[in-house]
Symmetry: C2
Subunit: 343 residues, 2 copies
């Protein structure tokens, strides 16, 4: 079978070199901005490469440089696996942003399967670095990776080990903003529907809540959700809070899903939101926007976190800068009907 058309093979570096009338060394240097070459040659090579549609082989590049061009992203989904469906919104957006940023920088980003702790062996592909999203205490995979000397950035701080640079939402400030908002809208007794304190988010938010209560001289009313993070769990927690003697007049839930559950609970008890009960949550999602009444929610910036984490990791790999500074990402309170009673 005679191959009719050489199927548009990708050009090699040698062909670019030949076309540009220089050596492959020069092509490599020009394209990677490495060696000492004149600006003229550099741009010329760039043009030729572009005209030929040259794209360096990731493999060969890796072999030569010792890099793999691969980043791993590991998310610790809160609670047991798929329960927290509302928060997929957050992770998906984060993942998307991270992937784009990585690709733009010539790296591919691999999502590590979450949940499965009983991975026989750490799936033994080798990445150049790892991003751990909302790492939980005692995370095996993280510890292993760290032991191997893998560069790591955490999104949310690692409670086990403070050595990795992190990027994190400013949960303390955000929580206080949300509580101030509820108070400004008339709340006297704000309850918290919290999370099991396994990651820095849950810890920081709860701490901020307690700090706020202390500084306002009110007693904290906390309902800690431990079972799962679903809407059903939020409903159950809210039912308990609201049917207690001297119930709260506002609820702040640490996840949108929980907040939506609280919304159903209120409805069941015949409480009107926002008139009888003010409601706000964290981790803004489309679900919060779509609910009726709309759920006031603290919008985190998953895209910024995803992008930032990749950028930090790449900076670590670069090796040039000694240490990569940690970074807080601002939150923004999106006020909707659930906290806007008629004046």
């Amino acid at each position: 079978m005679a191959s009719s058309d050489p199927p548009a093979r990708r050009p090699r570096i040698t062909e670019v070199a030949a076309a540009a009338g220089v050596s492959i060394t020069t092509v490599s240097h020009a394209l990677n901005g490495k060696g000492r070459i004149s600006e003229a040659t550099r741009t010329h090579v760039h043009q030729v490469a572009r005209k030929l549609g040259y794209r360096p082989s990731a493999n060969a590049r890796s072999l030569g440089s010792g890099r793999h061009g691969l980043l791993a992203l590991k998310v610790s989904l809160p609670g047991s696996s798929a329960a927290a469906f509302v928060e997929f919104d957050y992770f998906t957006r984060l993942l998307n942003a991270a992937t784009s940023t990585a690709l733009q920088n010539g790296f591919a980003l691999v999502t590590l399967p979450s949940g499965q702790t009983e991975q026989q062996e750490p799936p033994d592909f080798s990445a150049d670095g790892m991003i751990a999203v909302d790492p939980e205490r005692g995370d095996e995979a993280l510890a292993t990776a760290r032991k191997r000397g893998l560069p790591i950035v955490t999104a949310g701080r690692d409670r086990d080990d403070g050595t990795s640079p992190w990027i994190d939402s400013d949960h303390r400030h955000g929580t206080i903003t949300a509580l101030d908002h509820l108070a400004a809208r008339g709340a006297r007794r704000i309850a918290l529907i919290g999370l099991e304190r396994v990651n820095s988010f849950a810890i920081d938010a709860a701490a901020a809540y307690e700090e706020w209560c202390a500084s306002h001289s009110v007693e904290p009313i906390e309902s800690q959700v431990v079972t799962d993070y679903s809407q059903a769990a939020g409903r159950a927690a809210a039912l308990e809070l609201l049917s207690a003697p001297n119930p709260p007049d506002a609820i702040y839930a640490l996840l949108d899903g929980l907040g939506l559950g609280a919304l159903s609970a209120a409805r069941e008890l015949g409480l009107r939101v926002p008139d009888d009960l003010l409601l706000a949550a964290c981790t803004d999602s489309t679900a919060a926007a779509a609910s009726d009444p709309g759920l006031t929610s603290l919008s985190l910036a998953p895209e910024e976190i995803g992008t930032g984490a990749v950028e930090m990791l790449l900076k670590m790999l670069d090796g040039s800068s000694a240490t990569v500074p940690n970074r807080y990402v601002a939150t923004e309170l999106v006020v909707r009907r659930s906290s806007s009673p008629a004046a």
Copy 2:
């Protein structure tokens, strides 16, 4: 700075060869089951390699074999980006399964950022193959990939091009099962809340609905959702259906999110589900299970689809088998309260 301990460098193939007293060729052959070597040598090499903790360099392997060890997964999220939050459940499970399967076979799986059609250049990393989940008509990225000769498997059939092997839920059978179920529970007039017919799922399910109506000599009642696929859209569609003259006594929604929206609509109109209105949906999710009443839903098998797609793609890469057969994955109707009226 004297490096105190050679930091546990991974052994190279040469070291394994030396330790086993054979050539590197033999080691490679033994480990990959390729060349002609005696069973004795093969097991011996395996033992030595294992004792040394040898793990071949993915890069070098790729360079040598021309493979990259990378698969791309591209999902076309239905509707505009993040609207369909309920369906993240489905995609996340699919993605997780696909990633695991890929890793188990020595491949890493990269999720391509979805939605962004205006990707300047197709992010130019090179994968060995691509999985397109629910490809939409006129998908640019898919066409480009196909033109480049990239092996492709689609999850859900590609309406533009029938050449790629596919794996797909048996939507026709599933839809008919769901409709039969509703009819058996007493439904006389079943309405459909459908989707824009841009992918094979939407097309097949709608076609099955129409086929079922025809074979039961009832008139189809279709509400096509075009705006977005959120709960709000489902609610709007259901409100319209239910307030028309001669409204349906059952609704089948093509996404859980839409079904949940229909549930709110019914509640608003004072209709009791399941007593006044039977409800069922497709793409079972945790949200459907958690709602009150529980939403009867057609459970697809995202894990099986993710795993299957990767397996098919790997078989294509293998090159040994001429063509990879297409595959249907069974669905299962999960019956909940929304379609279980009191006898």
